[in-house]
Amino acid sequence: MKLYQVVAKDIIRRKRRVLYATLGVVIGTMTVVGILTIALAGQERIYGQLEKYGANLTVIPAISNIDMELGNLSLGAVTVGENYIPEDKLPEIRQIADGKIKEALHIQTEGDIATLAPKLYMNTELNGTSVTVVGVDPPEERKIKTWWRIQEGEYLEHTDQALVGAVAAQLLKLNVEDRVTLNGSDITITGILEETGSNDDYQVFIPIETLQQAFAKEGIISSIDIRALCNACPVEVIADAINQNIPGVRAVAVKQVVATEMGMMEKTNNFMLALAGVTLIVGGFGVVNTMMTSIHERIKDFGIMRAVGASRKQIIKALIYEAIIIGIAGGILGYGAGTLLAYAIGPLIFEGTTINYVPQYFPLSLVLAMSIAIVATLYPAFRATKIRVADSFRSL
């Protein structure tokens, strides 16, 4: 018979007590694994967005909001400035974007490099429901929205066609081949997009000239999306150059938006990790307390063991074996519970985040749980072995 077998038999006899001690370890581990899993999911979402939109800039009309206040009372805001960009600014913007890219990458080629997708937004009614119709340049828009997938039908090819977002198609009860009238112009639905999780789902896309003609907005656009050639392209530099050289517009690099979002996320993550640390410490004290009780009530057993020849080291070893078993059980349960916790509360903390379980956290969880259990055991274990054998019998 080996020492670990003695420990195992004792644990089997005291299953409930051991389970109770394990629970404390589970709570600590669960919190850490849960928070780490949520934090990772949040980060991955932002990295994913950066990858998708990282090379992009958006140019919008330079409008400023002036807050109207009376003393401390806010009366809302008034918008100052043009709501549209003249279409003839497009070549100028292209020149700046291409110029900066060529400069950064040291290339001399003639011709267009960046993709410029102008847009015109109109709020109107289709089939009696109000909807945002977006006028786009079909080939350019396709290059920018690389993630678009057509659910049904085809992409825009002719001026009298429309592409409908997934949700808009449901709300407006539109199907491929349906014909609608848009401010007097006849339009055929040519395709329906798959869901993208963005505003695109709620919009209807038609060629920009058609929309301009239908609403007499020839020569003006609402915004321009620019996709630089590569993820490493100097989008911030391009944005600055546009802002400095072209009056009446404002260029924003998506990277800047992501960086801000990332900073906020990091703060949230740090806060959560601090919270996890506190939980771990509090949980740790709980486990120390449980182990103290659990060891104290077995003082007599340790007295017996020592009376029949166990050394202090062997008693401590036996208790550490027990702690390892508690740690393994706590690590497995803590990983499971932490992952479930992440699935449950992750979407509440970072909206729209998909949580995935992280296998790499499993060994981490085991190590963490074992460390808590072993550290919590050491002090009571040393104390238990300081008691003289004769006293350990007397105390009961």
């Binding site: 018979m1 080996k2 003695v6 017996i304 020592r306 009376a307 029949v308 020849g309 003289r388 019998f393």
Partner: protein, 227 residues
């Protein structure tokens, strides 16, 4: 083999000091079966505790097998308990999670000896529990538990076995069976010191040391009388 030289044990200090043992000396030879008798508070349990190193002396010496053991530290006492001295208690003190066989194997486990199941089974056979080796203490009667404890006390082949009121928790019949077993083991060569307040139990020993107020007041050699 065991020499107890002028040992004194005082609990407490100053005016509240209690003298538990006062200048006690005696010798134990291999093959002896000695009963230490006396009323409650006479110091007999204290004597057993200081002999076994469970308690410290105030003065005097305890020499086992030519080695002073009263001054040993806890780590050195571990070696004494792994082969020189074993204990049998009034409360049996078996581990509840282990079977009879496993309880007997426990001293061997701590000594680092493996694969001695055969020896443990033999010992259980000798104490008359050959058929109950797989039972847990809770499934055994008091007499049976004490037999397991006796088998356990023999597992490491000790020089000396100390028994503290081994029949104190038993009815007369069971107690007699346990004492029969002690007698049989002594005949086989085991050295036993047994503390008891029961004269019937003490009579089974070869020699009786009578303690009163921490002093030896009488020594009765029964070898002649019993044969």
């Amino acid at each position: 083999m065991l020499e107890v030289k002028e040992i004194t044990k005082i609990y407490g200090q100053g005016t509240t000091a209690v003298v538990a043992l006062n200048n006690v000396s005696f010798q134990v030879n291999r093959g002896d079966f000695i009963a230490i008798m006396g009323p409650s508070g006479s110091g007999k349990s204290t004597l057993l505790n200081v002999i076994s190193g469970l308690d410290r002396l105030s003065s005097g010496e305890v020499i086992l097998d030519r080695e002073r053991i009263d001054t040993l530290d806890e780590d050195a006492l571990v070696d004494i308990r792994r082969g020189k001295i074993s204990y049998i208690f009034q409360q049996y003190h078996l581990l509840p999670s282990l079977t009879a066989l496993e309880n007997v194997l426990l001293p061997l486990t701590f000594s680092g000896v493996q694969g001695q199941d055969g020896k443990a089974l033999d010992l259980l056979q000798r104490v008359g529990l050959g058929k109950r080796t797989g039972h847990k203490p809770s499934q055994l009667s008091g007499g049976e538990q004490q037999r397991v404890a006796i088998a356990r006390a023999l597992a490491n082949d000790p020089l000396l076995t100390l028994a503290d009121e081994p029949t104190g928790n038993m009815d007369r019949k069971t107690g007699k069976e346990i004492l029969d077993l002690f007698e049989q083991l002594n005949k086989e060569g085991h050295t036993i010191i047994m503390v008891t307040h029961n004269p019937k139990a003490a009579e089974r020993a070869k020699e009786i040391i009578v303690l009163q107020d921490g002093q030896i007041v009488d020594r009765i050699n029964q070898k002649g009388r019993r044969q």
